[in-house]
């Protein structure tokens, strides 16, 4: 990585020669564009990126980025990324996945990669539907969803992605929205900066099968009332006039209005490193009585898996010396004929 300081890359360096094949109007375009903007500015040579995906509309992503890419099989991207990161810890590894890919068939790898804390980044395109297979409800669809596989409404309670990730031991949990492009860019930087597994859940509009799922969060008219934009060290306030806040009452969050004098002091200060706060914020995901938190919900620094593993390799090398085949073969009783 000696070239780091001298590389100057730009968005077009990350545009591949493949035709982008998403539906017109798909939220995936916006996310692609943000990634292509952020990658050149990370100070990493282009050949040190590896983008891994599973299967789904979203998982076509690697084809469109001009770097190393692996479009693997359904649900397995985290496992593939794990091997890549262990093999070469210098790579900047990014997983792109959908809500079905990561939480339905891929749920197990998803929770395991989070608990192991590899230094890699997961972009979870949550459109609350199976796009590529034409519209079945997904593990993040609201209960009661009418879809081609649930004509009478689904009877599955959805996963709450940040809460699941926290439960699995995730060390960086953030949420963004396809249409909040600047905000999303910021999250991508933060995710990259975090040395550990970063999960960025991105609400993404599926124009064909679940259009408007996040309309209340993106509609200009009302989004100030529905988005809780988190900033570390700042009070959790929201509303068109920044006139509402969240307060901790006992062990529950409550929405308070800031009209009364002093009440800004009662508003909870966002502390990214407070896990219980992270849990409290995650709990708001589906609650219509609360705003939806976006930004970094939780962040925790602890050694990564690959660091510890490579330390063991280095120590072994130091204490035992470089492995020697002849010694190895003769490490038990031998006899000569």
């Amino acid at each position: 990585m000696s070239e780091v300081s001298t590389i100057t890359l730009s968005k077009k360096d990350f545009i591949s020669d493949q035709d982008v094949r998403w539906c017109p109007g798909c939220g995936d375009y916006a996310i692609l564009s943000q990634v292509q903007k952020v990658f050149p500015n990370l100070g990493i040579p282009k050949e040190n990126f590896l983008v891994v995906s599973g299967i789904g509309c979203s998982s076509r992503f690697p084809y469109y980025l001009d770097t190393f890419g692996f479009h693997s099989i359904h649900g397995r991207a985290p496992a593939l990324a794990t091997g890549a990161k262990i093999a070469n810890p210098d790579l900047s590894v990014w997983i792109v996945t959908g809500d079905g890919d990561s939480m339905s068939i891929g749920g197990n790898h998803f929770i395991h990669v989070l608990r192991r804390n590899f230094d890699l980044n997961i972009l979870l395109f949550n459109n609350q539907v199976y796009g590529l297979t034409k519209g079945q409800y997904s593990p993040t669809s609201e209960i009661g969803r009418i879809s081609n596989s649930t004509p009478f409404g689904s009877v599955d309670y959805p996963f709450n992605p940040p809460l699941l990730a926290l439960g699995a031991g995730g060390t960086f949990i953030a949420r963004g929205i396809d249409r909040e492009q600047k905000h999303l860019q910021g999250l991508l930087y933060e995710a990259y900066k975090h040395k550990g597994t970063s999960l960025v859940e991105i609400y993404q509009n599926c124009w064909v099968f679940n259009d408007g799922a996040f309309a209340s969060l993106t509609d200009r008219e009302i989004k100030m009332e529905t988005q809780l934009i988190l900033e570390n060290g700042k009070p959790m306030i929201f509303g068109r006039n920044q006139d509402k806040g969240l307060m901790l009452k006992g062990s529950k969050l409550e929405v308070i209005s800031l009209t009364k004098k002093n009440s800004i002091n009662e508003v909870m200060i966002h502390d990214e490193q407070n896990k219980i706060q992270g849990l409290l914020l995650s709990e708001l995901t589906y609650d219509k009585n609360y705003p939806t938190p976006i930004g970094v919900l939780y962040r925790e620094e602890k050694p990564t898996y690959e660091t510890m593993l490579h330390n063991q390799l280095a120590t072994a090398l130091k204490t035992r010396g470089k492995g020697n085949l002849d010694k190895l073969f003769n490490d038990s009783h031998t006899w000569k004929v």
Binding site: S16, Q18, P45, K46, E47, N48, F49, L50, V52, I55, P62, Y63, D66, T67, F68, G69, F70, H71, S72, I73, R76, A79, L80, A81, T82, G83, A84, K85, I86, A87, N88, D90, L91, N108, H109, H112, L309, Q312, L313, T315, A316, L317, T319, R320, G321, K322, G323, L325, D326, L328, F329, N330, S332, H333, T334, W335, K336, V337
Partner: protein, 613 residues
């Protein structure tokens, strides 16, 4: 110590099986005896067999654990069919193993364990040591527990500790009977219990007590000796199959100049491979215990994409889980090695028992036309070369390779001629250097191997995946004709390997009455059976296939040189189906599916049946 009081009698080969409760330490006893035997310069083969439960109820039939060894002055390939000596530490062990003892064979029993309770648990109505049920055998029934107690009388040990040392008594006794020295075992005991001197003392005393007891036994007239076997000159060690596999992998990595990345999920009888490799961190071996078998192979695919020599190991059920991912490796043409240490199925089956019924799974256990290379190991020591060969093919041909071993090879052992590491060949890779206009689908003419462009190398940026790819560019393509071309290409990449492997050269008769075609762990049994029948002037050849896909080029013509083709397998005819289907030859099978290795006699009988006809 020397055996003074009895005369010596030399024999060609001896088969001993140590059996007892899971808690009786029979695996340890067997492997100590094995080491002493290796030192004596005999050829040998071993076969441990134990229950699927960690420790089934004491005294129950299900809890019997056993370790068998054959040692000989000849070259042998199996742990033997029939036993000369059966050490049966308890009645359950006697019950489940007696049928394999030769008439007039020796039974060594620890009387102390033939209690009413144990007899009942193992279904004996009467105590076989007391009625004349065992009249056809030579029975040495001793109260080993008391004998050991006596030996450690002054030490104030618990009865539990004393019983736990009876295995050393038995080992000492058998060592005396077959003239093995105790030194290596004594050293081992000193090492193992270094922190508990009273255990060192107790075990050594028990061992010596058994040894010395030999002299006093009337049933035994002679100390039996076995002359050294003739081996190719060189330095030898005893090696277990799974360990030999690991050594082969490590050697291949060194010869290819790559790091090993290994990932597995524990499963009997493959787990040892993970255990062994995880100990060699100074060889830059990265091991990853994955959350399941799918994660294991997928992580290997990731590591291989990044330039490591990637390996995963599992057994049948885990292999079934890996099918989809292995298909991805086929589609992306990445060099990885999948070790399947087969066990008895279907489903969970009999997890600690052996079988070779996953050949067709290896070939066809995926969706679509998805050819992989398949090779198999013949013997514990041969696992070394097989693993090396697997890595060589994978890397030189940029293709996934499946290696088939089985429980019998995995845990069995035999002497291994330690190779001269310098003389082993280097392995080529297709790693690409920095480049402009890199095309991952540019192919080497000879192997059709594509280029291996790994992340971190400037200019090689490219994308791979499981969708069909354009044969020129590697981009996604749904073109019908291209798909057919790609399918042919993938098949050709396998077929082409036949140019790169040795032709078959039958052992024994090069043409004639019977050709025995085998694969995998039946090697030893078949070879001995062929030898025996040839000594009786039958015209018999033996081909043992390491390469199962592709077959060696001259296999078809070779088959035509014999009147009968016999295919012994521990399955219901899997290689048989392939040979018949491919070469339209009326081969017949000898199929045994009992979770046990093939016996020499079984193969011999069948050869004679065909050769006589």
């Amino acid at each position: 110590m020397a055996n003074k009081s009895k005369s010596k009698k030399n024999v060609d080969r001896v088969v001993i099986r140590f059996t007892g409760d899971s808690g009786d330490g029979m695996q340890l006893t067997g492997s100590r005896f094995t080491e002493a035997t290796a030192i004596m310069g005999n050829d040998l083969a071993t076969y441990p067999d134990y229950p699927a439960e960690i420790r089934a109820p004491a005294g129950s039939l299900a809890g019997v654990s056993s370790f068998q060894i054959q040692f000989s002055s000849d070259n042998i390939g199996t742990p033997g069919d029939k036993l000369d000596v059966l050490v049966a530490m308890n009645p359950a062990a006697l019950k489940t193993n007696l049928a394999d003892l030769k008439t007039s064979g020796i039974i060594i029993a620890n009387k102390a364990n033939y209690t009413d309770k144990n007899l009942r648990l193992s279904g004996w109505e009467l105590n076989p040591l007391e009625d004349d049920f065992l009249r056809d055998y030579r029975v040495i029934a001793l109260d080993m527990t008391r004998l050991v107690s006596n030996a450690v009388e002054d030490m104030d040990l618990s009865l539990k500790l004393i019983s736990r040392s009876t295995n050393m008594f038995a080992l000492g006794l058998v060592s005396w009977m077959y003239d093995r020295t105790l030194d290596s075992t004594i050293n081992f005991i000193k090492d193992k219990f270094a922190k508990r001197p009273e255990l060192v003392e107790a075990n050594i005393r028990a061992l010596k007590a058994g040894y010395n007891y030999g002299d006093t036994i009337e049933e035994i007239q002679h100390v039996v000796t076995v002359s050294k076997a003739t081996f190719e000159p060189g330095v030898y060690r005893n090696i277990v199959g799974n360990q030999a596999l690991c050594f082969g992998l490590i050697t291949a990595a060194e010869k290819a100049g790559l790091d090993i990345y290994f990932s597995g999920y524990p499963i009997t009888p493959a787990s040892d491979i993970l255990h062994i490799l995880s100990g060699y961190k100074n060889f830059r071996i990265k091991t990853f215990q994955a959350e399941d078998e799918i994660a294991a192979i997928m992580s290997v695919i990731g590591a291989v994409f990044c330039g490591d020599l990637g390996i995963t190991a599992t057994s049948g059920p885990g292999m079934a889980l890996k099918g989809e991912s292995l298909g991805l490796a086929v589609a992306t043409e990445l060099p990885l090695v999948v070790l399947n240490i087969q066990r008895a199925g279907p489903s969970t089956g009999m997890p600690t028992k052996t079988e070779q019924a996953d050949l067709l799974q290896a070939l066809f256990g995926r969706n679509g036309e998805s050819p992989v290379v398949v090779i198999a190991a013949n013997s514990p020591a041969d696992c070394f070369s097989t693993a090396f060969e697997a890595c060589r093919i994978a890397l030189e041909h940029m293709i996934p390779v499946v290696v088939l071993s089985d429980a019998f090879l995995a845990h069995g052992s035999e002497p291994w001629l330690i190779p001269q590491t310098k003389s082993l060949p280097k392995i080529r890779t297709h790693l690409a250097g920095k480049s402009n206009g890199f095309n991952s689908f540019k192919r080497e003419e000879k192997t059709l191997a594509r280029q291996w462009g790994i992340p971190g190398t400037k200019g090689l940026e490219h994308r791979v995946g499981g969708l069909e790819k354009d044969i020129e560019t590697g981009d996604v393509s749904y073109d019908p004709i291209n798909h057919e071309k790609m399918m042919n290409l993938r098949q050709q990449k396998v077929d082409i390997i036949a140019n790169d492997i040795p032709p078959v050269d039958p052992f024994g008769d090069k043409n004639g009455k019977v050709l025995v075609v085998g694969w995998g762990s039946s090697f030893g049994a078949i070879r001995e059976a062929v030898n025996r029948s040839r000594k009786e002037n039958h015209s018999v050849g033996h081909v043992h296939l390491r390469h199962l896909n592709p077959f060696p080029l001259n296999l078809g013509e070779t088959l035509l040189k014999y009147q009968n083709i016999l295919v012994p397998e521990m399955n219901s005819g899997q290689l048989l189906l392939l040979l018949r289907g491919k070469f339209l030859i009326d081969a017949s099978g000898l199929n045994k599916v009992q979770g046990k290795p093939l016996g020499v006699d079984e193969v011999y009988d069948k050869i004679i049946e065909l050769a006589g006809a």
